[in-house]
Symmetry: none
Subunit: 155 residues, 2 copies
Amino acid sequence: MQRENISDIIEAYLKTILAQEAAVEIRRAEIARRFNCVPSQINYVIKTRFTPARGYIVESKRGGGGYIRIVKVKLTDDQDLVQIMRQHIPKRLRLRDARDLIQELFDNSLISQQSGNLLLAAMNHETLGILDQGTEEHLRSRMFLAFLDRLRYER
Amino acid sequence: MQRENISDIIEAYLKTILAQEAAVEIRRAEIARRFNCVPSQINYVIKTRFTPARGYIVESKRGGGGYIRIVKVKLTDDQDLVQIMRQHIPKRLRLRDARDLIQELFDNSLISQQSGNLLLAAMNHETLGILDQGTEEHLRSRMFLAFLDRLRYER
DNA sequence: TTGACTTTGACCAATCTTGACTATTACACA
DNA sequence: TGTGTAATAGTCAAGATTGGTCAAAGTCAA
């Protein structure tokens, strides 16, 4: 099955590098040439796949000698992660962002796999879908904040 | 033979694959073409035959490179309690009843303390309180059903 | 006839791709 | 020192490519 789209392929390529190095530094045009796509495609990949919710920080510089650098953040203090997340939960939380956040919590050993799965079930569109979209996302945000608060007390 | 409807045929086709692989990944339009039906028929088949209660998880993605993936999950050995609970969840679930049910799950070692706490946070009145009482209790019921379905899976 | 299940199709939503236009930076050179 | 130019990256919106939803119409057995 090779119906993968270019974005996924580029994502995989970058993650291959990140699996070995703490950061990747690329030149946008070069990557675009390598994967035979327009340069702005790289921005799309970064914006959708290397988000803060997934634990990435992206820096760049334009002009001669310009670059894009992707860094995988590794926090040493778990309490910080909860705090930081808490401060950045928007009033309305989309399902895909919630997924990423839960994955982050799991990756950092703050919740078990079971907990993650159950939370996902709770915040799923299947479950909340009886609400209008605005209310659904608002409620998802509230639920996530409640989780995080509970996580803080647990420790 | 000639009595079979398309939905049954598509169901059988997918299950043939699932008998050999742990998951099927399809493109909706392609399957629809193969069986000479409209694409939304595939959604109907999935919704009626590949439900969580029957041990399937369905994921999908739209847009370029989109897909529908059906995963057959292993059911846990001991699920009597889950089954019984599932059959008795009312359309509207009050918080105090939800508490008791979660406690029951914990007492029977079906969920960890962490999971229980997080679920409680999710279904709390603090969290769901922005809804009117009817909606709140209805949603709590839906959430609980979603939990129970998840609990039946091993992963 | 009725009610459950199936089939269809119009319309909706999410995701990816592309390209025109914009913003920044380094460097050469007046 | 100032300024123009080449080299880079960023933004945004239109278009393409998928799957999702819903309700009306069809089918069939009790």
